[in-house]
């Protein structure tokens, strides 16, 4: 569906050249759901905008839905759906009419556009809001209308730029239900950008981690996490002395890695181990035998944030690094 080679985009800001995207190779097969994950300013949206013909690449090639974005932008547009970061519907327009207009713009006949509008309003639970002005829709409704506009012509490939930004958790979950149903029903290939870890983790089949304009990791969430060395096991104890003893005991576990005693208000021990759940019983027995009584015990599977941290030394959660 998508194949880019050495795709780059440079912007001129004043006298400086900003290299927003630096040589990106992306391959997406039919039916995939791929998330571009990265911090703000990583180049996710710029990449997406090149793939959707909204920005001309500085160099490199991109073939999207069988057509080159440079040579045949109009044909690419016809074959893809695009849901931008902002809201696609005009504020003084009515929801249903805006959707109908969108259908006409994609070359649907009047009757088809009308039928398709009714169908999408129904599927995305917007039927009651069809005659309402766009400004009077709720945030979730507006976002679903954006998605509907992206789908009006049944594109085999849909791009979503930060689809759930600004939505409350309930609307976000609801949006993802719709996206999941869409894939199930029509096998639409979906490429989205997000900086929500949970989204990339839970929903996407494949995650491309992007940082400083480059793809720094590519794989399923599980594959990426497997690259990080194991689960994080941590337990807290009553005092610093017990923490030191606990760390010594934990260090004797054969697979344990990076064991450290944590001092401070909640003294305890942290370690990385391949299968946290498997070593836990053994660890607890050993602690018990030495008279160390853990107050709390936790096993954390690595998150995509750990992946990003391992790759870049920075956390994705720091919004303003």
């Amino acid at each position: 569906m998508i194949r880019t080679r050495d795709l780059t985009k440079h912007f001129r800001v004043g006298k400086e050249t900003v290299e927003a995207v630096r040589g990106v190779d992306i391959d997406v097969a039919e039916g995939e759901l791929v998330a571009l994950l990265g911090p703000n300013g990583a180049g996710k949206s710029t990449t997406l905008r090149m793939l959707t013909t909204l920005l001309e690449p500085t160099s490199g090639t991109a073939v999207v839905a069988g057509r080159d974005v440079r040579a045949e932008p109009a044909r690419v547009r016809r074959r893809i759906g695009f849901v931008g970061q902002g809201h696609g519907a005009g504020e003084d327009q009515r929801a249903g009419e805006e959707l109908y207009t969108q259908g006409l713009l994609y070359g649907l006949g009047r009757a088809t556009a009308r039928a398709r509008t009714a169908e999408l309003l129904d599927v995305l639970e917007l039927s009651g809001a069809a005659d309402r002005e766009v400004t009077r829709l709720s945030g979730g409704q507006r976002r679903r209308l954006d998605i509907a506009m992206g789908l009006i012509h049944r594109p085999p490939l849909l791009f979503l730029d930060e689809p759930s930004t600004g939505l409350d958790p309930h609307s976000r979950a609801n949006l993802w239900e719709h996206i999941a149903r869409l894939r199930e029903k029509s096998g639409t290939t979906i490429v989205l950008t997000t900086h929500y870890l949970e989204e990339a983790d839970g929903a996407a089949g494949r995650v491309l981690v992007i940082d400083h304009g480059r793809v720094i990791a590519d794989g399923t969430a599980d594959e990426l996490k497997a690259g990080v060395s194991g689960d994080l096991v941590s337990f807290t104890v009553a005092d610093g002395g017990s923490a030191a003893t606990g760390a010594e005991i934990a260090g004797r576990l054969p697979a344990a890695d990076g064991v450290e005693a944590v001092s401070g208000r909640e003294p305890g021990v942290r370690l990385r181990v391949e299968r946290g759940d498997a070593v836990l019983p053994e660890l607890l027995r050993a602690l018990d035998a030495s008279g160390v009584a853990p107050t709390t015990v936790r096993v954390q599977r690595p998150t995509l944030d750990d992946v990003f941290l391992a790759l870049t030394g920075r956390s994705l959660r720091e919004e303003n690094p």
């Binding site: 902002g86 005009g90 327009q93 969108q102 994609y106 070359g107 506009m149 012509h153 029509s186």
Partner: protein, 267 residues
Amino acid sequence: MTTETAAPTAAAEAGVPRPSPLRDTGIVFARQMRPLLHRPALLLFGMLQPVLYLVLFAPLLSGLAGAEGENPWQWFVPGLLVMLALFTAGFAGFGLLPELASGAHERLTASPVSRVALLLGRVLGDVAVMTAQAVLIVVLVLPFGFRVPVAGLVVGLLLLVVLGTGVSSVSYLVALRVRRTFVFAPIVQTAVMPLMLLSGVLLPMELAPGWLYGLSRINPVAYVVDAERALFAGEWNAVVALGWAVAVAATLLVLLLGSRAMRRISA
């Protein structure tokens, strides 16, 4: 991808092989007109300023000697319609600014719609509004003794359409370029005010000192005002021809530059 999804896309492509600029212009025009159809009162919104001039300024002219003093409205209304065109069409870009900010314009450019249609459809919408407002003003002054020959009125309104097309195209192109209200607003004010003051809408430019009269002669709008006055007086002379020539030439130039800019903005 299943065949179920492939078929409609392929069919859509076969049915409409290339974007048709004419059909697209119609679609964009219809979209532009919808808010107005739902709320016709919006039509009056842009008319306040000309109507105020009509009621609170035109009567002042009766103190002057000459044609403008004898029958102020007969002299003033044709120019007032040009003022209306300048304001309604000149401020057209304000309608695009929220769409540039929200992402609605981006969504349109991501669709296969013809780039030129994206400009022309909007311009046509504004010109339709402007024409409706002009007709409304003429109807308003008829009960007060204003008279205009039908042929002169029709040709005069057509000239207004040409002017409005050019002015509103420029307004959109500037809005597309600067994108932000706080930049756009002063630019439009700075452009529209001198164009109006130097066109002889309010007072005859013949009253002006030489340098000011000279300035008015490089203002295309002044020629349109002169032509409108002649047409509304039922005169068919060189002034009419010159006004048309200037308006058509200027608007064609704008459209040429505008369609090139539109293709470049989002090729």
